[in-house]
Amino acid sequence: MNQAPDSSVTKPTKLAAQIKDLTKHYVLKSETVRALRGISFDVPEGDYVAIMGPSGSGKSTLLNLLGCLDRPTAGNYVLGTDDVAQMTDDQLSEVRASRIGFVFQSYNLIAQLSVVENIEVPLYYMGQLNAKSRERSTQLATMVGLGERLGHRPPQLSGGQQQRVAIARSLVNDPYFILADEATGNLDSVTTEEILALFQRLNDEGRTIIMVTHEDEVSAHAKRVIWLRDGEIQSDEPVTERKVFTAEQIDAISKNAEVRH
């Protein structure tokens, strides 16, 4: 643990997600692919986890399960107080709308919607669209530095800006955790820094972040790295030499980002 020892002892940490013996088999024509072979780990609130592993290790499968886009063959996945492993399709949709904040590699914004409308999409599916939610979406857009571009459409924005809209969207439903899939994969190194600084700021504010990546440079910013290999956890360790942005750096990067775009 890289945190002060006393805090972890005195406060029993609440769990954002709890995974137990999670197994996923895909049945192809003639064979069964055992993508995940029973993995278990907990994600306490406020954690910043990087999931890594070579291709074919089960990373994507785990991501889909964590994102409630798929159901496990066996095992439990407790999100808050509910086991989502056996939920129906509609229930999973509700869980995705209300408890998970997605950030994708290719931003995945809806082209015909404006910045603020894109941020609102999860609320729309939660049935909570109203004047107050519009205010919240606007605040989030401002928070990620796009307060001046509320009416812009995604094609009018740069990659970094689009990803920041996506991050704002992932926060709008106040999720249990942000699930980032190679969130910096399409970005240059400067913009990558920006996004990572934003993630750190959110984590410092108490947000739980789970990110899937294959870049050591990116995972070095997390607090903890889970290594997968052949559908099993190879290692699950805290990051010993974590790269941390100082408050001044975060401010500077944010300002630079404003100037650059």
Partner: protein, 448 residues
């Protein structure tokens, strides 16, 4: 609120491809407009037909004399004797209680000349011997002078009433009233006592296909006709000539109550047909406009169904257009579907999203189609005018009904066409929408 958002979103997506959406709408537009157009034109034509039948008088029964097929061996002395008789007319008048009036009629093709201008070319027309009731029964209207009177009938006077068209031809510059008319074939003179107003033709009756035309008629008392001309008509054709003998061309019977028409008609037909030595008569035809009217109504229904079928086919074609476009749209927007599913959209949300788009397309098509349909009467008269203007010879050859028919918009066709278009939108939109909703979100997100 939510539905409104969905709808707004749908419109937004549609406006991303304005051309594509417009073409899809056009399919439905044509479908809906053609429902209204075809039904309006069908209704216009059948109204015209019904009007012609109604002009015969729904309360009338018409007994026509029909010349039997020529069985003689060309012997000139054969006299063909046929048709209803004065005695039969009298018998019917005296015995059938449901009748209000009995009008015997005898018609002869004749040519006419104005006595004061005998060098002029004779005008071919029809000489009609009848009674004063004829005017009421055939709905003739006197323009000037008077129609035949009972005094003239009983006195067997040589007076006549002429139709408007004939009056104009014979007397282009003079007042026909009081003038003498000359029949060169019969060598008879009649003095004109009345001129009628113009009257349109009625439906064909008897064996003939031609419509009854009143435009070149000359009416004289039937008593006068019998006294002066007898029952025989000698017709010269080429070298030979034939002699027809008939007392009456037609008896028009007016029934007091329309409800009594069918059974009165049956009674009269049965009585007349059995009238001659056990063998069924073939020289008469009983025409019941009331029944024709019923027939016309059935024909109209079938016609409308046929028109409706054609229109329905065009709507289905429009619907297939919608489906085609929506399937393409769904494939094109696979990724968007994936995003929406990942962000919490349920299958039903996705279904609705696409269904709202197809319904919007079909509603817009339906509304514009209704507007286009309402333009039908105007468009038809424009088309008729331009044909008459730019292709007069073609216009001349058009059937009569095409020249006078005016489309009657069937009020029911508007809501029907509109709702069918909405239903078409739903029916043909539901498959693409369900296909969109059934996509696996993971696959959809991976789609490029």
């Amino acid at each position: 609120m939510r539905l409104f958002r969905t709808w707004k979103l749908g419109l937004k997506s549609l406006l991303l491809h304005p051309m594509r959406s417009a073409l899809t709408v056009l399919g439905i537009f044509i479908g809906v407009a053609s429902v209204i157009w075809l039904l309006a034109i069908g209704e216009g034509i059948s109204r015209e037909a019904q009007k012609q039948i109604e002009d015969l008088g729904a309360e009338n029964i018409i007994v026509r004399s029909v010349k039997p097929p020529d069985t003689s061996s060309g012997n000139f002395s054969d006299i063909v004797d046929f048709g209803v008789t004065r005695a039969e007319a009298e018998m019917i008048r005296l015995t059938v209680p449901t009748l209000k009036g009995v009008v015997p009629i005898r018609e002869l093709p004749q040519s006419f000349i104005y006595n004061g201008n005998k060098n002029a070319k004779p005008v071919d027309g029809r000489l009609v011997g009848c009674t004063p009731e004829y005017m009421e029964i055939t709905r003739l209207v006197v323009d000037r002078g008077h129609f035949l009177t009972h005094r003239e009938l009983d006195g067997k006077l040589s007076v006549c009433v002429i139709s408007a068209v004939l009056a104009n031809r014979l007397f282009p510059s003079e007042d026909p009233i009081g003038k003498q008319m000359y029949l060169p074939e019969k060598q008879e003179y009649f003095s004109i006592v009345g001129v009628l107003k113009e009257r349109s033709a009625t439906a064909a009756i008897g064996g003939s296909l031609a419509a009854q035309d009143f435009s070149l008629d000359v009416y004289i008392p039937i008593t006068t006709m019998y006294q002066r001309m007898g029952d025989r008509e000698v017709k010269r054709t080429g070298g030979s000539f034939s002699i027809n003998s008939f007392q009456l061309s037609q008896i028009t019977l007016q029934v007091a109550e329309v409800d009594d028409v069918p059974r009165t008609a049956k009674l009269i037909e049965a009585t007349l047909r059995a009238n001659s030595n056990g063998k069924e008569r073939q020289d008469i035809a009983v025409v019941v406009p009331f029944e024709l009217l019923e027939q016309a109504r059935t024909t109209r229904l079938m016609f409308m169904m046929f028109m409706g079928l054609i229109a329905a086919i065009s709507l289905i074609v429009g619907g297939i257009g919608i489906m085609n476009i929506m399937l393409a749209t769904v494939t094109e927007r696979t990724r968007e579907i994936g995003i929406r599913r990942a962000l919490g959209g349920k299958r039903s949300d996705i279904t609705w999203q696409f269904l709202v788009e197809t319904i919007s397309l079909s509603v817009v098509g339906g509304l514009t189609g209704v507007l286009g349909g309402l333009l039908c009467p105007w468009a038809v008269s424009l088309a008729r005018w331009s044909v008459a203007e730019f292709a007069p010879s073609f216009y001349q050859n058009l059937p009569e009904v095409a020249k006078i028919m005016s489309p009657q918009i069937v009020p029911e066709s508007i809501p029907i066409a509109f709702f069918i278009s909405v239903i078409v939108g739903v029916v043909f939109g539901i498959y693409p929408a369900i296909r969109a909703a059934k996509m696996d979100p993971i696959e959809a997100l991976r789609h490029e």
